[in-house]
């Protein structure tokens, strides 16, 4: 059991891979914005990588534990403290009933994850504990934690003594910085851009806009020309060059809303009427989940084969091999 003394900016329960199978009804997967840190944090706490945990965004909460347990904190280093004493990141740390977990501010990255041995015990909604705060789906009564919110933890699969001191090896901890290189695949609508547009997208250093959240990341940079197809189409596509007849979006789509690219994140829309010339590789999306307003982003086009090896590396990182004790 734990209780929120202060809720933080928007602290929510998430699990991985989230709410899958409802995309055709417009219900997004949700889940952690940084799925790499989230899963590694769970491993440190002795949990299955996808177990329900807390996503802490920008401003951390204050949490009072009401029972002895083991916690792990990963993701952005928001200087976690227990009773005012710094605790290590990426490591199973024992806490006692009455202990107070607090946070400072992160120099790099913007989302921390808190895993508790056993995971958070909360009802599943459509198969998942994840929260889509904007539509009040899942998590803590559909929303973020509030002051006073009490959460239960499920029984740990391992004895607490075994969870204590589990650490993620240095080499697999994500490196958070203020500039990011994000891998994308071309498509589905790369043929709506000119070659110059594509070259510009991949050579420019984009700036993350402050209008970015769990639904989408806006990036700021130069304008695009758009190709022949975008300027010569039937009226039902819409009048702007970036408009197309509404169709299903992918999580990670680079959605061109007029001249503003918006990368669709885990709470994003399932369909709409703007072209997606690029799509972020699924195992690279975590980087944007840590990017904060003002950070710089470069995009590298990769092949399907390269995406496969990126997924392979991600998968082997998220495994017991990454844990030492």
């Amino acid at each position: 059991m734990l209780q929120f003394i202060k809720p933080g900016l928007e602290t929510s329960v998430q699990d991985y891979p989230g709410r899958i199978g409802f995309w055709s009804l417009g219900i997004p997967p949700s889940g952690p914005m940084d799925a790499l840190s989230f899963q590694l944090t769970n491993l440190a706490a002795g949990n299955a990588p996808g177990a329900p945990g807390l996503e802490v965004q920008f401003i951390g909460p204050e949490i009072r534990f009401q029972a002895d347990t083991v916690i792990a904190v990963g993701g952005a280093d928001m200087k976690p403290k227990v009773n005012g004493q710094p605790i290590p990141m990426w490591e199973g740390v024992p806490v006692s009933a009455g202990d107070l977990l607090g946070f400072g501010f992160a120099a790099q990255g913007c989302r921390s994850y808190v895993a508790l041995a056993g995971g958070i015990d909360i009802p599943r909604v459509m198969g998942s504990c994840s929260t889509f705060v904007k539509a009040n789906i899942g998590g803590i009564d559909g929303g973020a934690a509030k002051a006073g919110t009490v959460l239960k933890t499920a029984p740990s699969v391992r004895p607490l003594a075994e969870c204590t001191g589990r650490r993620i090896v240095e080499s697999t901890r994500p490196v958070l910085a203020a500039s990011w290189e994000v891998e994308v695949l071309l498509g589905p609508h790369d043929d709506w851009l000119t070659e110059g547009d594509i070259a510009q997208f991949t050579s420019h250093e984009w700036k993350v806009s402050s209008l970015s959240d769990r639904t989408g990341y806006r990036i700021e940079g130069p304008d695009f020309e758009f190709g022949h197809k975008a300027h010569h189409k039937l009226p039902e596509n819409g009048s702007d060059p970036s408009n197309i007849i509404d169709y299903g979006y992918s999580v990670g789509s680079v959605n061109f809303c007029g001249q503003t690219p918006i990368i669709l994140m885990v709470d994003g829309p399932s369909l709409g009427g703007f072209v997606n010339p690029f799509t972020v590789v699924s195992t690279s999306l975590w980087k944007l989940g840590q990017a904060k307003p003002g950070d710089r982003v470069r995009f590298n086009v990769v092949t399907e084969e390269e995406a496969r090896s990126l997924r392979g590396a991600f998968k082997s990182a998220v495994s017991e091999q990454s844990v030492i004790k």
Partner: protein, 303 residues
């Protein structure tokens, strides 16, 4: 145009986007829904789910279980076995929704926009004028006459994008620019030739001219049609709007709040594209028609 062969596009490393054509045309949507239906009934290895839309089907897959080329080949086989659009039959429910047209609530939302953002023409009047209708009364008649086909659901959880099934009753309107910042829950509106219902209060860009008191999103899943998900309308369902006045709106709203409202849903019947097409090629000539275009009828009513 309708492509001779669909286009198969990469949409990241976990999604394939299949394009049947690049125009707004019910036939393309029937194909997308027909393909979604066969994939749901006989799963293709590695496919997680599909998202049908007007002219496309998005296929979400697990790349450790299949790859783009294998999936493309499997889908191409399914597309071939779909045959022509006329051969497609789709399970479809008919949902009756009371709708208060030219209502005070959407009027308030438009007035607020006119005051704060842009002085646009009141939406019911604009929709009537742009479609050559005499007045708002005629708009209500024209909009509430056809059945609407739910071509896609999304953008926001439970939001249906619907097309008139009757080619004699098709309205077309421009979208707002810039969008509204709020829209009352249950608002009925149009953008292009598409009718939508706002499941909850959200920003929006459609012309708005009516409101239903009946929830199409039930987060608590307390009403019977929401047993499986909080979403009422699924792709392939049909909607018929029944005009009500503001007094009836409030009565129904109270029934909804009390949990006593009974949804009027005609359960799954088979919608045969061939029959639909035949019906409307006849109906175009026959002004006095009043029959349902659906195929087999069933009278099961779901609460």
């Amino acid at each position: 145009m309708i492509f001779e062969e669909p286009r198969y596009l990469y949409s990241g490393d976990r999604y394939l986007l299949l394009e049947f054509g690049d125009e707004m045309n019910l036939d393309l949507n029937f194909k997308a829904l027909g393909l979604a239906e066969t994939v749901a009934n006989e799963p293709i290895p590695g496919v997680v789910e599909t998202v049908p839309s007007f002219a496309t089907l998005l296929v979400h897959y697990e790349p450790e279980e299949t790859d783009f080329a294998t999936l493309k080949a499997a889908l191409a086989e399914r597309v071939a076995s779909l045959g022509s659009t006329a051969d497609i039959t789709l399970p479809s429910r008919l949902v009756e929704l009371p709708c208060c047209y030219d209502d005070p609530w959407t009027k308030a939302a438009v007035d607020d926009y006119r005051k704060k953002i842009k002085l646009i023409e009141p939406n019911p009047e604009a929709t009537a004028r742009l479609n050559g209708l005499r007045d708002v009364r005629e708009l209500i008649k024209v909009h509430s006459t056809p059945q609407y086909w739910v071509a896609a659901v999304g953008f926001w959880p439970g939001l249906p994008f619907m097309m008139s099934l009757d080619p004699r009753y098709v309205l077309t309107v421009p979208k707002y620019n810039p969008p509204r910042t709020w829209t009352p829950q249950g608002t009925v509106g149009m953008g292009g030739s598409c009718t939508a219902i706002y499941p909850v209060n959200t920003p929006g860009g459609y012309q708005i001219f009516g409101r239903t008191p009946v929830p199409i999103w039930d987060g608590a899943q307390k009403f019977a049609p929401f047993a499986k998900s909080p979403v009422l309308l699924k792709p392939g369902d049909r909607v018929k709007f029944v005009p009500i006045d503001a007094r009836e709106f409030i009565e129904i709203e109270q029934e909804v709040a009390a949990g006593t409202y009974t949804y009027n849903v005609v359960d799954y019947e088979l919608f045969a594209v061939a029959r639909y097409t035949a019906f409307f090629s006849q109906a175009k000539k026959d002004v006095g028609y009043s029959v349902s275009p659906a195929g087999e009828t069933s009278t099961t009513t779901v609460e």
